[in-house]
């Protein structure tokens, strides 16, 4: 076990993937000599060279579109979109080209492209630097959308995403980049080096995990809100409410099985994400819980998330984002319903 930050774990994961498979390439703006604006690719340009760590022209559609062409020849491009709000120039290439090529070619063409996106807020960013667009990609068949919340998951999931034959939107909770944790570097290597490693890895990165066990309320989170959910569970526990925290890890596919299993035991579900709640992942999850666990519920499923307003200026982001008070308020409401 080695202690590392979440950003450092992605960096180590990228390095391991590049060592394992010479077809793995990194593409993006400022990822080379600079090491990326968040330094996630730090040192890789020096060690792997500009042929494998490519500083691209400043054109997101161009980056994803050329990555598609390269992956048609067997490369595994890992694309960095510098910030969440800058992904939209590439929206057609991602949703209409990358997502659909396997389908429209009857499975003849696989596009194992990973699109890394530092996403979500909480860092005092300028406009377009703090958004959570995951629902737009999860709504698109053909894409997998995942987000790690811990350094261990970051290390494992980036490598599983790269090994997967499907395109993956890999959402990195930028406010958690500097969170530290212990990372076992051997397990995922054994998995991906083994027979059917890519399939095993894809299956594993598609499953959620119970991050904390509890009996009264199921609190569902992913990416940046997992730490918040665990803090809320800690505080509620002190008040005598036992909270189970589910870290979804994957938004597409959505591991509703893990959530429904938990909901059937607790009878109360609160979903926390930074994305706007309207048409957000929580809406889909809430519908599934209603469909599959309706008669087990003691209270309506509640959502705590961003509002139906553009992400505000930094002085207001802490009002916009779900925080401990809003999460605990929702917990109170499902407990007293």
């Amino acid at each position: 076990m080695t202690q590392m930050t979440l950003a450092g774990a992605i960096n180590r994961g990228l390095r391991a993937a590049m060592d394992r498979d010479e077809k793995v390439l990194l593409m993006g703006e400022d990822i080379g000599q600079l090491g990326g604006v968040f330094r996630v690719t730090d040192g890789l340009w020096k060690d792997f060279g500009p042929e494998r760590v490519m500083d691209t022209p400043l054109a997101e559609s161009g980056i994803v579109g050329t990555a598609i062409g390269m992956s048609m020849r067997g490369y595994r491009p890992v694309v960095e979109i510098q910030f969440d709000g800058f992904i939209f120039p590439a929206f057609d290439q991602i949703t209409t080209q990358l997502a659909k090529m396997h389908y429209r070619s009857q499975g003849r063409i696989q596009l194992p492209v990973v699109v890394r996106v530092p996403f979500a807020g909480g860092i005092g960013g300028l406009e377009h630097h703090s958004e959570s667009p995951e629902a737009l990609f999860a709504h698109t068949a053909g894409l997998r959308v995942i987000s790690p919340a811990t350094p261990q998951d970051a290390f494992d999931m980036i490598q599983q995403a790269i090994a997967s034959p499907d395109p993956v939107i890999f959402l990195e909770p930028k406010a958690r980049y500097w969170d530290k944790g212990e990372v076992d570097e051997t397990r995922v290597d054994a998995q991906l080096s083994g027979e059917d490693g890519a399939s095993a890895g894809t299956a594993e990165m598609s499953r959620g995990r119970v991050a904390r066990q509890g009996t009264d309320v199921t609190l569902v989170a992913y990416g940046p809100t997992v730490r918040l959910a665990l803090q809320a569970a800690e505080l509620a526990g002190a008040d005598g409410t036992s909270i189970e925290v589910v870290d979804l890890r994957s938004i597409s596919p959505l591991d509703s099985e893990t959530v429904v299993r938990s909901a059937k035991r607790t009878g109360r579900v609160v979903i926390v994400h930074e994305a706007p709640t309207t048409y957000g992942p929580g809406a889909e999850l809430s519908a599934r819980v209603a469909e599959q666990a309706f008669f087990h519920l003691h209270a309506p499923v509640l959502r705590v998330g961003g509002f139906h307003a553009p992400y505000p200026g930094a002085k207001l982001e802490h009002d916009y984002l779900p925080n401990l008070d809003r999460v605990l308020d929702a917990v109170d409401r499902v407990m007293t319903h």
Binding site: G69, M70, M72, R108, D166, S252
Partner: protein
């Protein structure tokens, strides 16, 4: 202004005039020198056959056998000429009207109609033909072509001097596509990476109803200069010239010279698709101007004057075209619709829980009708 506008055809590279006279060209004669009479007859044959197929498909749409059809009528010289310049290592990224290029890549023509009958979105094995699937989002594939070319370069398929090894990419799109950001981005990526890609613009004068003057003030070939991409403007209805400039461009790209932009100045003699009505936006005079420049007629006149197109050849090709028409009709009418659950196939390469759950539900739902003796 008008004289320098995008519709002027005065500065085009031409080897064969509209009446079939062979013009000399100091730069490009050499690139057509290998075209003997037999090669020219093959081009004439391909142009004739693809037009017959195109007309057959139009008829099938009118009969309700196809949902829609996209005619290539009038663009046979641009497509067959450039297609004949390709070698086996080259890889083609077509738009959706490149049926002539498909023919030169060995695609079995009726198979194209699977798309237009609504059976599936892609109808051939791109790798087997080195001919990618059609792309309907205008210009989006120009980036795929560029990325593919960058990968060929990386794979040591460029500039080795070994004709068995070297290859390039050719990407087809129309005048409308040149307004898309993706096409400009493709030129940026191709230029800075010196990617072996030839951008082949068929300027057929229209993007559905909009004349090319809605896309550009300057001739499209001028776009290349800002990217430092060498560019040529060729008579797109002259199969010899299209062959020669494409061969030049491909040889340049294969040898490591980087991207080239070709503007083939042609005319969409048919409608945009069978759902379109060109009488709403263009004149008969315009159409007859271009009818006088028919790409097949001009090669026909040239070969006939040379005494290289006799009745035996004409009859043989006519019979071949007729047979293809019959086989196309029979093939299309013989296709069965896919089973309904085929819509869930290949969404992902690895299992995906949502797709699996919806598929399982749909199968149960369909079976529920069968159980009741009702045909779903």
């Amino acid at each position: 202004m008008e004289a320098h506008g995008p519709r002027t055809d005065e500065d085009l590279i031409t080897l064969l005039t509209r009446t079939g006279e062979r013009l000399a060209h100091p730069d490009f004669d050499g690139f057509a020198a290998d075209l003997d009479a037999a090669a020219l007859r093959r081009m004439w044959r391909d142009m004739t056959v693809v037009r017959a197929f195109d007309n057959e498909a139009t008829s099938l749409q009118r009969q309700g056998e196809l949902g829609v059809w996209v005619q290539s009528l009038g663009q046979e010289a641009a497509q067959i000429g450039s297609g004949h310049a390709l070698n086996g290592n080259d890889f083609v990224f077509p738009s959706y009207r490149e049926h002539g290029v498909a023919l030169t890549r060995g695609v079995d023509m009726p198979e194209i109609l699977r798309i237009f009958r609504g059976l599936q979105h892609g109808a051939w094995d791109p790798e087997a033909h080195r001919f990618h699937l059609y792309t309907l989002v205008i210009g989006a594939h120009s980036l795929h072509a560029t990325g593919y070319a960058m990968a060929m370069d990386r794979d040591g398929m460029v500039g080795t001097g070994d004709p068995e090894r070297d290859g390039a990419v050719i990407c087809y799109f129309g005048d409308g596509a040149t307004s898309q950001g993706d096409v400009s981005e493709a030129m940026v990526f191709a230029a800075v990476n010196s990617a072996p890609v030839v951008f082949f613009v068929q300027n057929n004068q229209f993007a559905i109803s909009e004349p090319v003057t809605r896309q550009t003030r300057a001739p499209l070939a001028q776009r290349g200069a800002g990217f430092d991409i060498p560019s040529v403007r060729v008579d797109g209805n002259d199969v010899l010239a299209c062959y020669a400039v494409t061969r030049w461009a491909l040889e340049r790209a294969r040898s490591g010279g980087g991207p080239v932009l070709i503007e083939a100045f042609t005319y969409r003699m048919g409608a945009h698709t069978t759902a379109d009505d060109p009488t709403r936006y263009r004149t008969r005079a315009d159409e007859s101007y271009w009818a006088d420049r028919d790409p097949i007629a001009r090669l026909d006149a040239y070969l006939t004057a040379l005494g290289e197109l006799d009745d035996d050849v004409r009859e043989a090709v006519a019979a071949e075209a007729k047979a293809l028409g019959r086989r196309t009709r029979e093939t299309v009418r013989g296709w069965e619709s896919p089973t309904s659950t085929a819509m869930f196939d290949h969404v992902y390469a690895e299992p995906h829980a949502t797709v699996a759950a919806e598929r399982a539900w749909f199968e149960r739902y369909e079976r529920s009708f069968a159980d009741q003796g009702v045909h779903a």
